[in-house]
C-alpha cells in the first residue's frame, strides 16, 4: 500500500530524513520509534504534505500512485490521514461544520454523493461512540479549550469520519492519561481492517500495549536503523535508546 524509497527531506536546508525505506502492506500496523529529534514527526509531516519540508530525494508510492506531488488535501482525499501531535485550535469553526465540509469534499473526490445534514448527523453519532466523545464538544470551536485528551480523541473521531486507508498517528499517546489512552487506542483498533494500515509514531512503548504493531522500526538520525517485531519495542522500553545510538554511531565511525 505504501512504499517509501530512499526518502530524504530537509527543513530550511537542514537535512532531517536521510534515506528512509519502508514498505507497509494493507492490514499491517507499523510502529516508528526513536529518540527525540530522530525525524519521526518529520516523516509523518512529509507524508501528509506539510510545505515547510523540502523533499530532496526519493519517492513515495501510495496505492501505486506518486504521493509527493499531491497537495495535502488530495493526499487526504486519496486516503492518507495524519492524527496531529499538536491538534490546532481554530476559534470560530466548529468540529461539526468543518468536518462536514471536509467529508463532502473527500466524498466528491471519491465520486460519492455528498451527505445531507441528517445522514451526516447519524454517521457522526455512530463514530462518536467509538471514541466516547460528546456532541457538545463537537459543536464548540475546533479544539478550543479542549483538554489534551479531548483533542486527541477528536483526532481519532475525525479519522473515523473520514475512513482513511492509511492512518498515521503522530505521538497520539503523548500527554494522555491511562483512561484517555485506552479510549483512543480502542478507537484506533476498531477502525483497523484488512484493507487499511496504520503507522504509529511514538516515543514510548506504552501505546503499543494497546495498539499492537506487526513491525517496529527505530528511527535515528533520519534513517531506519533497526526493524523488528513488537519485542523490539519492549527491549527499547527496558534498555532505552542509548544502545542503538552507540551501535549506529560506532558503525558510522568505522
Amino acid at each position: 500500500m505504501l512504499s517509501i524509497k530512499n526518502l530524504h527531506a530537509s527543513i530550511e536546508g537542514t537535512p532531517i530524513l536521510r534515506g528512509i525505506n519502508l514498505e507497509v502492506k494493507a492490514g499491517e500496523v507499523h510502529a516508528i520509534m526513536g529518540p527525540t529529534g530522530s525525524g519521526k514527526s518529520t516523516l509523518a509531516s512529509v507524508l501528509a504534505g506539510r510545505e515547510e519540508y523540502e523533499v530532496t530525494e526519493g519517492e513515495v508510492l501510495f496505492q501505486g500512485k506518486e504521493l509527493l506531488p499531491l497537495s495535502p488535501e488530495d493526499r487526504a482525499r486519496e486516503g492518507v490521514f495524519l492524527a496531529f501531535q499538536y491538534p490546532i485550535e481554530i476559534p470560530g469553526v466548529s468540529t461539526t461544520n468543518f468536518l462536514r465540509t471536509a467529508l463532502n469534499q473527500v466524498r466528491e473526490y471519491r465520486g460519492q454523493e455528498p451527505l445531507d445534514a441528517v445522514k451526516f448527523l447519524s454517521l457522526m453519532k455512530e463514530k462518536m461512540a467509538l471514541v466516547e466523545i460528546d456532541q457538545k464538544l463537537l459543536s464548540r470551536s475546533l479544539n478550543e479549550g479542549f483538554s489534551g485528551g479531548e483533542k486527541k480523541r477528536n483526532e481519532i473521531f475525525q479519522m473515523a469520519m473520514l475512513e482513511p486507508v492509511l492512518s498515521i498517528l503522530d505521538e497520539t499517546d503523548s500527554g494522555l492519561d491511562i483512561d484517555a489512552l485506552r479510549i483512543v487506542s480502542n478507537g484506533v483498533n476498531k477502525l483497523k481492517s484488512e484493507k487499511t494500515a496504520t503507522i504509529v509514531v511514538t516515543h514510548y512503548q506504552r501505546l503499543l500495549d494497546y495498539i499492537v504493531p506487526d513491525f517496529v522500526h527505530v528511527l535515528y538520525k533520519g534513517r531506519i536503523v533497526k526493524s523488528g517485531t513488537k519485542e523490539l519495542a519492549l527491549e527499547l522500553e527496558e534498555k532505552g535508546y542509548d544502545w542503538i545510538k552507540e551501535e549506529v554511531d560506532s558503525t558510522a565511525t568505522v
Binding site: 501528509a48 504534505g49 506539510r50 510545505e51 497537495s71 495535502p72 488535501e73 493526499r75 487526504a76 482525499r77 490521514f81 495524519l82 496531529f84 491538534p87 490546532i88 481554530i90 476559534p91 470560530g92 469553526v93 468543518f98 468536518l99 465540509t101 471536509a102 467529508l103 469534499q105 473527500v106 473526490y109 470551536s141 475525525q158 473520514l162
Partner: protein, 422 residues
C-alpha cells in the same frame, strides 16, 4: 500646499444650498472656513489623505441631483427575507412615496421640520466635513420614535447614490428616540452605476432615557466612491446604543463614530468589520466619551485586508475625571493577506478617573498557516480552508448583527468573496 486646503472649490456647493435652515448653514459655512479641509499633516486625518483624493477624483463640486428610483429598484435592493420599514433616499433626498410607515414612527423631510436642532449633537466645529454638510445638505430626514414605543421590526434606510458628473451627495439624518423606546436602523448605501461621487453624510441620534437603539451601517458601494460619514449620538441614563459598521468596498472611506455617554448605567457598543481588497482605503475613527460614572463601552473591530488595500483604526476612549467605575473595552484585530496591504491601528485612551476598568488590544497578523494545513490535511481545498478561517475570524462581529436577514445577507456577501480566493 494643496489648492484644496483653500476651500474656494466648495463655492459651488455653498451657492447651491437651499434656503432652509439659513442661520444653521451660515454657522456651518463659517465653521468650515475656520477649519479648512484636513491638510496632509492633520493628526486626525494623518493616514487618510482625503483632501488630495477629493481633488483628484471629484470633478464637480456641486450637489448631485435627485435621480428617479423605481419601486422595482427598491424591491430588488431590499435584503431577501427582510421584514420591516423601508425608507428610500435618492442622493440624500428622502422619497416618501416609496417609503413605508409604522405606528410610533414619525417621519418628515428635514425641509418641513426647520425646528430640528441640527448640529446640537454633531458639532460642526469638531470636524470640517460635519461643517461642510451642515452648510450644504440638500434634503434629509427627521425620524422620531415616540416615548415608550418599541419598534420591533428594523428600519431600513435605503440610500441610492448616483452622480454622473462626479458630484457631492450630502445625506443628513436626524433621529430622536423618546424615553423607553427601542428601534433598530440599517443604513445601506447602494451605487446605481460606477461613476465616482463623494458622499458626505451626517447622522445625529438623540436618545432618550432607557432607550435601546441599534444602528447598522453597510457600505458596499463601488470602488470609485469617496465617503466621509459622521455618526454622533447622545446616550442617556440607562440606555444602550449599538453600532455596527460593515465596510466591503469603496475608494476611500472615512467613518467617524462618536458616542457621548451622558447618563449613568448607559452602554455604548461599537462593532465593525472591514473586508478590503484592491486599493480600497477605509479609516474607522471611533470616539467614546465617558462623561459620567457607571457607564460601559465595548468595542470590537476586525479587519481583513488583501491586495494593496489600506485600513486605519483609531479608537479613542475618553474617561473624564468624574466618570468613576467606568468599564471600557476595546479590541482591534487584523489579518493582512498580502505584503502590500497596510493597517495603521491606534488605541487612544485618555483616562482622568482613577477607579475604572479599561482595556485595549490590537493585533496584526497573517493567516495562520498551521490552521490552514490542518484543514487541508482533512481534505479541504486551500481556498475553502482559507475562507473558513477568515470567516471564523470575522464571525465574532457578525454574531452581533441581530437582524437575521441582514446578517444572512452580509454572511453571504463575505463568504462569496472569501470563497473566491479573495
Amino acid at each position: 500646499m494643496s489648492t484644496l486646503t483653500q476651500p474656494e472649490f466648495v463655492l459651488g456647493l455653498f451657492e447651491a444650498a437651499p434656503a432652509t435652515f439659513s442661520s444653521l448653514r451660515q454657522l456651518g459655512k463659517e465653521s468650515f472656513y475656520a477649519q479648512g479641509l484636513p491638510a496632509l499633516k492633520s493628526e486626525e486625518y494623518k493616514f487618510t489623505p482625503i483632501a488630495k483624493k477629493l481633488e483628484n477624483s471629484i470633478t464637480e463640486f456641486s450637489p448631485a441631483e435627485q435621480v428617479t428610483i423605481s419601486a422595482e429598484q427598491v424591491k430588488s435592493a431590499v435584503f431577501p427575507g427582510f421584514v420591516g420599514v423601508v425608507l428610500v433616499f435618492s442622493n440624500g433626498y428622502f422619497i416618501p412615496g416609496l417609503s413605508s410607515k409604522t405606528e410610533g414612527l414619525t417621519i418628515h423631510s428635514l425641509s418641513a421640520e426647520e425646528n430640528t436642532p441640527l448640529g446640537s449633537i454633531a458639532d460642526a466645529a469638531k470636524d470640517p466635513f460635519t461643517a461642510l454638510n451642515q452648510a450644504t445638505f440638500v434634503n434629509g430626514i427627521h425620524i422620531s420614535i415616540a416615548k415608550k414605543v418599541s419598534i420591533e421590526s428594523p428600519i431600513l434606510l435605503l440610500q441610492f447614490h448616483q452622480a454622473k458628473g462626479g458630484q457631492v451627495i450630502s445625506p443628513r439624518i436626524w433621529i430622536e428616540a423618546g424615553d423607553f423606546s427601542k428601534a433598530t436602523f440599517i443604513d445601506y448605501h447602494i451605487s446605481l452605476d460606477d461613476a465616482p461621487y463623494f458622499v458626505n453624510k451626517v447622522v445625529e441620534i438623540k436618545g432618550g432615557i432607557n432607550a435601546d437603539l441599534t444602528y447598522h451601517s453597510l457600505q458596499q458601494e463601488h470602488n470609485q466612491v469617496i465617503e466621509v460619514s459622521n455618526l454622533v449620538t447622545d446616550i442617556q441614563k440607562d440606555s444602550q446604543f449599538t453600532s455596527t459598521q460593515i465596510t466591503l468596498s469603496g475608494d476611500m472611506v472615512r467613518n467617524n463614530l462618536t458616542l457621548n455617554l451622558l447618563g449613568s448605567n448607559s452602554v455604548g457598543n461599537m462593532y465593525g468589520i472591514y473586508l478590503l481588497n484592491g486599493k480600497t482605503h477605509v479609516d474607522n475613527h471611533t470616539n467614546v466619551d465617558h462623561t459620567i460614572p457607571h457607564a460601559e463601552s465595548n468595542e470590537l473591530y476586525k479587519g481583513i485586508l488583501a491586495d494593496q488595500s489600506r485600513g486605519v483604526f483609531n479608537g479613542k476612549i475618553f474617561v473624564r475625571q468624574i466618570a468613576q467605575k467606568t468599564n471600557a473595552f476595546q479590541q482591534n484585530n487584523n489579518i493582512l493577506l498580502s505584503e502590500d496591504a497596510i493597517i495603521n491601528t491606534k488605541p487612544q485612551l485618555e483616562i482622568w478617573a482613577d477607579d475604572v476598568k479599561c482595556s485595549h488590544g490590537c493585533t496584526v497578523g497573517q493567516l495562520d498557516e498551521e490552521a490552514l494545513f490542518y484543514l487541508q490535511a482533512r481534505g479541504i481545498d486551500k481556498i475553502t480552508a482559507r475562507g473558513l478561517l477568515l470567516y471564523a475570524f470575522a464571525g465574532e462581529v457578525l454574531d452581533k448583527i441581530e437582524v437575521e436577514s441582514l446578517q444572512k445577507y452580509i454572511v453571504n456577501q463575505i463568504q462569496e468573496r472569501l470563497g473566491s480566493n479573495f
